[in-house]
Point group: D2
Chain length 362, copies 4
């Protein structure tokens, strides 16, 4: 296996011209596309429709290339979006391709993809979701050809949240939800899928978990999960990235833990982790292909002793403040604003901390 | 003269407890306070009342110490606020004190303060304002004991903008305004005062200016002006900072130009400029006392080749995006989120660029 | 007792000129002021400081008239603010005065005011708060000279919510809160105080209540409570309004229940209820002195069969949508936008419904 | 000609299930659809992509029915959207069909549709746009079979605004725009198209117009134009509605002028104007099929003597406040929240006033 990583600009959520150009120039082969992870310019909340618009638009573009209907394209390719391009963050998608290749000398970037079944509203944010995600992560691990969970550096999970329609549906059936507040369902939705990753990778023992632990027992977490939730999904999509001895190409992935949203050292550490500690840091910076990180508000809003207003701001959600901050810090180091920074880190690193992964050419 | 620089935390715009504590501990002498420059947690727009609330609250605290009415306190001390603590920015104020001291060996931080007369609504954003500000800057320069304009590193100007009430008033008198849109008046208001600084410091020739040049001829600018506009003011307040051979103490100021809101190198350059180029950068970082910067959207929204959405976002004003980004980048370098970052750089550096000043202990 | 009702315009939260004018003209006597209920132009959320600014500004104005310090003024007069002037709502305060007078023939507007003790963060939104509020309502009832709870038409309660600082404080002490989310604490805070009113007026039996019922058992409610919560308070302030046979003057109060935020019939019913059903509706409309109402999102977001987006909007809080709608509908009937419409109706009428009270000259 | 008017609910901008249902039930014939005018739940600003998403989704649905590509559907059917469902406004689209029919006794609802050519960025908001729109309105008038301009009650125009990309393009070519601020271009864009309507209907003499008059000479206006501007268009689409003696069916249209956003009398007047003054108002209310109105902030923000904060609010655009208010007032009268209320009334009625049209069954 050889994984290709291609940055695609988007002028708006319906703009597919850059992907079309790269396809027509031959640098991206449509049949090799397995996934896209991108940022769209919505508000990142329950009424952010830019993600669905982008998926529909890209599916429409790819349909004739793949001789599939747009709907079938959206089933074949895993589309992962995070809404919200605060600060300098730039709307884009990173296209992942997978093709046949001889293994390289040394481990190289590999990808495994798996889906869960659809969930009922009352399963969202519960152990039912944890277990299904864990099972899917194990499938993705095998597909990626990774034997040692320590070679996994980034597991992107996108799952459902509770929309007003789902809440109404559940209420009409008398089904009990983790919360009846659509915006309030995101912590549970993101937390449950992160715990699924943690269970599958041995970071958390399933025996320590229960419905009550989700979005509450914050000492239980994955250091490589990056999960989000959107109203357009009913099932979970898992994209697992690591380095495999069975993979070819010249890309490697690494990760680190951000102590806070201004932790520039962790950005550099993730890059160093990808290339190996003996690589020249300056050279590595020039070879960064993609960054994927989570942005989190500091605990109690206190950042290194100073009060931030993220958690008390009723106009701008704290995730938006946090993404704006981290996106700018990463861009100040790598020079590229087309990075994936999403919000909400329930059970993804310790409270206040967050995962960051870097794909680098070696 | 010896200038003291004191950081004061604010738990909300009405919270004066930290200043009270520092006064009672003796580290700040109320009679020595000449100015405050701070950030409040409003939206930074025409309906941001956190600035007025903070001034009123601090004046109430200081009134008995100074044996003045609250109103008289607000006239004696120059209060400069910028609303908007996006990203990690922390609400605070930096208190400047001035006391008698012997000159040090080598130039040291000095401050000069001056006020203009009140302006009519129809003068806001016009040459009338440019000329009055220039005259006030010259007075401040003399008060600071600075002979060479190149020793000036930071000139903070706060002036009036057009409020709905002022627009209505002007319309009823048939007076022509630079714009009838209150939020739209800020570029003119900030631009005119910046040009006043530029004229006084010899950066721009007054003969090249006219009403039509304001907020339009962006090739004319000051590199050290940092101007803002608020509905609570009718006149302009000028706070000029530089290094003077007549000043004592152990503080120096320097400045640099930010190429964009992720220009970490400029942050380090401003600090280096303050301490001198032969100082150890790591040591200098530990001795930073205060940072004052402007945040600006990149020209056309394009940051280092990537599209940002700052300029097309109808929910969050571009200044808020820009402040969030720059505030995080500075904090990632200095570790302190209590920094002054304000928005709007009309005639303050080239379009897309912005000034940054640092006060450092030597 | 004779209650006076005076509308005071505010040009911004620090503008006290209209109250000053009415005092100097003699229409408002400072010593007779017992309460103010008003709208300020903040966002109505945890970071809305316009309420505190308004209280401080009005206290500063009144201090010399009352020969008290500003702090003592704020203790003597009950200030109740709701932030958020969405749609056409106009920033203002309604000043209530109380003076000696002979009883009129027939019941007239009376007011009773009471305060609870301060609450610990862990008491906010619990039965402890319910019981203290109920006790205070009984005191206010007696003060108003009202024997029959059915003569009570409006009980305004303002109490504390959980601020980030209080959450941090409670966490450091290991105290359990109803929620650790500052914005999320409002339903509990408002609900508990409404249930306190319901218990005192016999609308709900205290035996049916427990901590678990608060913000959950929505079939238990008061039809005349109007409660809000703000970060600036630690105790609850109760303002009870009804018609008393011991009161004089020419004002009466009535109430009705809004089925939704476009229920114009309920607006007219509240006015009719105040003047008596045999009064000429057109004449009554001209004699409306003040309106106090709550605005609520429809259940599930569905308004008369049409989907609204209030509950899924991540940019604008649903209370802001609801206040904008109801404020406009009331103004379309009475012609006056200086009305008190606040958000959040937990335990104030049935879910989706809300109370409205009208004071009318007879 | 017989015009059919069909309300279609939308659960989100990509939800086409209700239109599909009505097609499959036979109540809407796809080949008869000529236009849709609807509300989507975006922010109504330059970064509102819900309009484009809705058009793409509906085109995808209709493509197989019409045996056209989605792009060809969007060219055949005029899609008009206004983003922003503030207050109670409900996301929906009104589908207009046109079929053959014998003329009725008495004039009946007729529709005429026309398009202009694409505009260059530098033509947006200028006389070039005025003239092209006027020519298109004349074509639409003829198509509708209307001889007397007084029979025209509603002309919906959707045209281009300046996006950041267009501004950059124009700047690179040295082309002069009416403004370089994308959000600031809307008044010019909407104003020019409204003046085009006014010229074609004889409400304004073209000789009185020039580029300088657009968005400035507010005494020149149309009373029936309802124009909007969106970044997704390059040309203008004109939908003209009136009563024609050549039309059949049982629908009529009328209009009135809203004095402000709480003018309930004008809502009733528009309905009465449609059915004729001798009709029973109560019966007419039950027969309202659709309402189309503009919402405008009061001049200087002063509504019937009370200050509103629409024009000074930097968080929520004034159009959003105004739409929330008017939408609620109309719904309080008709009971249906699926109404078309859009913002921005430059040259559509006098400043502060706005047009409203009603289609009623007779």
């Amino acid at each position: 296996m050889r994984v290709g990583v291609h940055k695609v600009k988007m002028g708006n959520p319906g703009d597919v011209s850059d992907l079309k150009r790269q396809i027509e120039e031959g640098s991206i082969k449509p049949h090799e596309i397995v996934a896209m992870i991108g940022k769209t310019e919505g508000n990142g909340g329950a009424n952010d429709f830019t993600r669905g618009f982008a998926t529909q638009s890209l599916s429409l573009l790819l349909a004739p290339y793949l001789d599939l209907s747009p709907d079938a394209v959206a089933k074949r390719i895993a589309f992962v979006w995070s809404g919200g391009t605060e600060g300098v963050l730039s709307p884009h998608t990173t296209v992942f391709t997978r093709s046949e290749a001889e293994p390289a000398t040394g481990k190289r970037l590999a990808i495994g993809i798996a889906m869960t079944r659809d969930f009922l509203p009352e399963e969202v944010g519960t152990m039912a979701e944890v277990r299904e995600v864990a099972a899917a992560v194990r499938i993705a691990l095998e597909e990626a050809g990774i034997d040692d969970p320590r070679d996994v550096h980034y597991v992107q999970v996108k799952g459902p949240l509770l929309t007003p329609a789902l809440v109404t549906d559940a209420e009409s059936r008398g089904a009990k939800l983790v919360t009846n507040d659509p915006n309030g369902s995101k912590p549970y939705a993101r937390g449950a899928t992160a715990l699924g990753v943690a269970v599958a990778l041995g970071e958390v023992d399933e025996a320590d978990l229960s419905d009550d632990a989700i979005a509450k027992r914050m000492d239980l977490y994955s250091s490589v999960a990056n999960t989000s939730a959107g109203g357009e999904l009913r099932n979970c999509e898992i994209l697992l990235f690591g380095n495999s001895s069975k993979a070819g190409g010249d890309l490697r992935i690494g990760h680190a833990v951000l102590k806070d949203v201004v932790d520039g050292d962790a950005v550099r550490a993730a890059i160093a982790n990808a290339v190996g500690d003996d690589a020249d840091p300056a050279v590595a910076l020039d070879r960064v292909k993609a960054i994927f990180a989570k942005a989190e508000a500091p605990v109690g809003g206190m950042l290194r002793g100073s009060r931030t207003t993220m958690l008390s701001d009723a106009d701008i959600h704290y995730e938006r403040h946090a993404r704006a901050a981290l996106g700018a810090v990463i861009t100040s180091i790598t020079g590229d604003a087309k990075i994936f920074v999403s919000g909400g880190t329930e059970h993804q690193c310790k409270p206040g901390e967050a995962p960051i992964a870097a794909i680098v050419q070696v």
